[in-house]
């Protein structure tokens, strides 16, 4: 089967004042479906930048990045927004839930951009919340939830449109050990059982161990690759 993500000769350069910084240098990468890929490296290595480009929230300077055989850089801003809505689920280090909305409403947010009826939306939200084990806390506001619970709501939100791709940027960075474990197990099952492609940025080797494949970046280049037997 064709890789879900195909990256060829990808480079990203940006200006920091008068200096030109090379974030990514001629990257070549294929990601298979249902893979659980971790991107590791020191700060400034370009791992987050790569993640952002794959997820369609940043553009490369040169080279190509195709997701599901679609050249992202050819899409307009609005088309890209629509594409993200349907095809990518985001999980952030700092959860990024909307404080004034309840857990249910936060998860429902991406569905408001679709044409689904209220009933259909409810069904999908309930399913997502069940998946992360938070169906009974759905009416709570983020400030009434623990860090781990918040992140799980965020995962539910990332899953609610049933995207093929799930990207996570240091998802366990603000969590205690137990919650971190929970979250990583969920991500694993997404890849193993639900057939989703998970790409995670982390600097924690223990977290990386949950993945199937691990890539190290340094100064914008691949340094090392580990492949674990799944």
């Amino acid at each position: 089967m064709k890789p879900i993500v195909e990256i060829r000769n990808l480079s990203k350069v940006y200006n920091q004042g008068e200096i030109q910084v090379t974030a990514l240098d001629n990257i070549h990468l294929d990601i298979e479906c249902s893979d659980f890929l971790t991107l590791m490296g020191p700060s400034g290595s370009g791992k987050s930048t790569l993640l952002h480009i794959i997820a369609g929230i940043d553009h490369q300077s040169s080279g190509s990045c195709k997701v599901q055989d679609l050249d992202l850089s050819a899409l307009s801003e609005s088309a890209l927004a629509d594409w993200r809505n349907q095809n990518v689920g985001f999980i952030f280090q700092s959860f990024n839930l909307i404080p004034v909305l309840t857990g249910f409403e936060n998860v429902e947010l991406p569905l408001l951009l679709t044409r689904l009826s209220k009933k259909e939306r409810k069904r999908l939200v309930d399913t997502a919340l069940e998946l992360v084990g938070l169906e009974d806390r759905s009416h709570h506001l983020p400030k009434q939830l623990s860090g781990g619970q918040e992140q799980r709501v965020a995962i539910a939100r990332a899953l609610v449109t049933d995207p093929a791709l799930v990207v996570a940027d240091e998802p366990t960075g603000n969590l205690d050990a137990e919650s971190a474990q929970q979250v990583l197990e969920i991500l694993q099952s997404l890849s193993n059982d639900a057939g989703k492609t998970v790409i995670m940025v982390t600097h924690d080797p223990k977290a990386a161990a949950f993945g199937k494949r691990s890539i190290h970046l340094e100064k914008g280049r691949f340094e090392k690759e580990d492949v674990r037997a799944s």
Partner: protein, 386 residues
Amino acid sequence: MLPVKYNVGNVVLRWRSTLATILGISMVVAVYVMVQALAVGLQTSSANTGDPRNLLIVRKGSQSESSSVVNLEQYRSLRYSEWIMRNEQDQPMISTDVLTLVNLPRLNDQGEANTMVRGVGAQGRVLRSQVKLVEGRWFTPGKREVVVSQRLAARFENFGVGDRFKTGPDWLTVVGWFDGGNSAFDSEIWADADEVRALFDRDSFSSLLIRPAGDQGRAALVKQIEEDKRLQLLVKNEVDYYKEQTMTATPIMWMGNFLATAMSLGAILAAMNTMYATVGARTREIGTLRVLGFRRRTIVLGLLIEGILLCAIGGVLGCMLALPLNGYATGTIGFESFSETVFEFTITPTLAMQGIVFSALIGLFGTLIPAIKASRTPVIDALKSL
């Protein structure tokens, strides 16, 4: 497309930090409404004056009734005109009025002011049916008696029924109060025309008030007077004449609008400042929404709604603050009449609506730029912000 709860919820959530902006806007709107209420009050009473059937005649070139002079000759040339309606006693319905100013003290040591004394001709009261006696009785011709407007009585010394006041060497007795029906007459003292002429040594009149015989009569009279160059008289519908005496209200409206503009400028700057700060605190949140797929313009629209909503709340509050002033009666010097003009602060529903729209506009302009800027921040920068 953003859930209503999101925008409303945010407005409610940050009420504390935006309370100052809301209060600030409420003050701006309150001041605007109050000053305009002054102008509206002044305009209302002058617009409300006169009987649409009557014609008022003054000297050509005079700026107000009190500075006009119509002499006996001019009166005689018109008096028996066939175009004037006659009453049951077959007398022409024409009133010869004499206007003059008398300087009198206000109540409670509020200084002195000129008051307008109108000596009405025999037909004067009949032609002005909007003026009604509310207390006491009408003056007796031949006696030094006057009837004052109820509104004036509330503001000046010695205007109680039965009281006497002095003008020069003469004493006048107040024998009654009238209600002018919220018109310019509410700023007047009425007496018998001949009595006034004797008292103030006038051998001419100030104006003539005529009830023409039907529309035909009106057209003919107007034609006759306008075409007679010797007469040098100006003829107008009574209602139109008073409506055009707006020079007192105009500068006040001007001031109201100037104040409104200046204050709204300040309010817009303040709203902008608040909005920038609020939006700044929500950069990451806005970035998340964009990551999830919400369009830029959806986000801008949502922020605009928040800003407008917030400011509109301030507007409503401002109207409520101004409301107690509605109906408050006071007086000031009228520009054309050079005498005390009483009026009430009048807050109409239109005015209140204007105040709220005004506040919404402040919200719109104060939020627009910060909102657009917030939505333009590249998504990654937004996500990275602390």
